[in-house]
Symmetry: C2
Subunit: 312 residues, 2 copies
């Protein structure tokens, strides 16, 4: 089962001819969660052959245009494609105030409903869950209310070992309990330990998206030990003062957060257009945190099902 | 001096991975007039290396998202680039009502002024002029108020023949009058005909943009004899009924307008994504009007200075 992030856009406010403004999709077993929706997101979804019908949840980090100006076009297109299923948009409290009137004007005849969910950007809380995944907000420190999002797979049930169940003649009605980790107790009181009957499921995977934000250790407890962290790196350390002033981060600061939070891998993005050579971002981060990678539009970062220690 | 149209986007409402929604720039001597501004226009401007600072006038045909959703991103980017010069936006009366609040929310700190100009979409009128060019609206027939735009170079002054002026000892103060076409009359009453002293200037060039619209012969008097006509062709004749119902045109209808208006060349665009082979549009149009061409993103159509009969 897939758990992967595709970068649709990774530039900062000024898009270039190669890099779009911020947008990503998280693929959880072929259901797609859109994270931010900069201008051009719908074209990027097409380029990356992501089926629009598989998107039902959009998470907006903050209301700067480079993170949300793709919403009206995407919502219109979903309407033209004949969508009828509800679409849920999570974002700071003004999200509906800003985009509601645009929808009312441009998308009058749409056959589907857009449900806005206001996210409190001041604390981490569960904003969405289904049977596979939970999504928590991550309070960020930016010039306007902003939050990241933590996607965490739910712990799956243990895998039964068919041969052991047959060997011990386990009744079928016991299987759901054994999957949950219970030992089997037969009618004569014999106990078969769960570890004989099941194998552990794959570890639950997790992804944290943190953009835009200045360096803030307050997020560390929320993103602790995630498999994959996207942390903005608008500047290099040569512009640390500017990063601070504009409430952005440097590559080194992103790496420090990754290291302190004990994450497995770090993706950098949201590069300022002032830098022509983005490899400098990777180098600067890798000095602090070895497992640092650069986001590029169209790139997919996979977290394999086998667990947290696998390569992607 | 350049007079050319670059296609930034030429698809209909649903953009594809190769074709962006509608936007074009008309280059009049390195001043750029933006016509429509679909999502992704700012990225297309960058790809086509068009300098943002050279754009001061934007003409919006109608308020369907695929013709204007690129405005917020472009306006934000102009602000981030430090623009201070006014930007003028021409469009149907609701344009300011729709985009004003978005600007107010997202572009609070911009150092330049956006001036909205309401265009009456029911009649053709002069909406803009400067020393080189006049822009007229073209009433179109669509589901909502819509107009095209006719760009017409002003007639340039006649070119003086330096040798003739020297030969006849024409005083310098007479030159402006001679450029305007007057004969020279010397103090002793001798008349030197203007045709001996000047050559005609290059013919004034013209471009008409007509999208979106159903077939309407009412536009013919407005676009009569233009050098270059862009006319939408959303469908082929196999879907003429659908074209009529949705207030769009077929390639054949676009060609009929071109023929009846006596234009020199026709560009087709705004193709429905249902057609995979756009060459069918050219073929269908060429049966009626030989000089029919297909718009593609990134293509530039030049009208040379030498006049209306030159190739591009």
């Amino acid at each position: 089962m897939r758990f992967s992030v595709t970068i649709l856009g990774c530039n900062s406010a000024l898009p270039t001819s190669e890099r779009n403004p911020t947008a990503q999709v998280l693929n959880v077993s072929e259901r797609f969660f859109l994270v931010d929706c900069g201008e051009g997101t719908q074209m990027q979804l097409r380029k990356n052959k992501i089926r629009f019908t598989r998107i039902s949840h959009v998470f907006i980090s903050h209301l700067h245009g480079d993170h949300c100006f793709g919403l009206p076009g995407l919502l219109s297109t979903l309407g033209l494609l004949g969508r009828t299923a509800d679409l849920h948009i999570y974002g700071p409290s003004d999200t509906e105030k800003v985009f509601g009137p645009i929808l009312a004007f441009f998308c009058r005849d749409m056959k589907y409903k857009v449900c806005f969910h206001s996210v409190d950007t001041d604390k981490s809380e569960l904003v969405y869950e289904d049977k596979r995944v939970e999504v928590f907000s991550i309070p960020l420190t930016h010039r306007i209310p902003a939050c990241g999002y933590l996607f965490r797979e739910k712990e799956a049930e243990r895998h039964i070992i068919r041969e052991s169940l047959d060997f011990y003649n386990i009744p079928v009605k016991w299987i759901p309990l054994i999957k949950k980790g219970l030992d089997y107790v037969s009618e004569d009181g014999t106990v078969i330990p769960n570890s004989v009957l099941t194998k552990p499921s794959a570890k639950a995977r997790s992804y944290a998206f943190c953009s835009d934000t200045k360096y803030s250790e307050a997020i560390i407890p929320v993103i602790k030990d995630v498999d994959l962290l996207y942390h903005e790196a608008t500047f290099l350390s040569d512009n640390e003062g500017l990063a601070d002033m504009t409430f952005h981060s440097t590559a080194r600061q992103a790496a420090e957060i990754a290291k302190k939070a004990g994450v497995k891998k770090l993706i950098l993005g949201h590069y300022s257009t002032r830098y022509k050579n983005t490899d400098l971002f990777r180098k600067e981060a890798a000095e602090v945190f070895q497992e640092s990678y650069l986001a590029e539009d169209g790139m997919t970062f996979d977290i394999p099902n086998s667990g947290r220690d696998s390569e992607f």
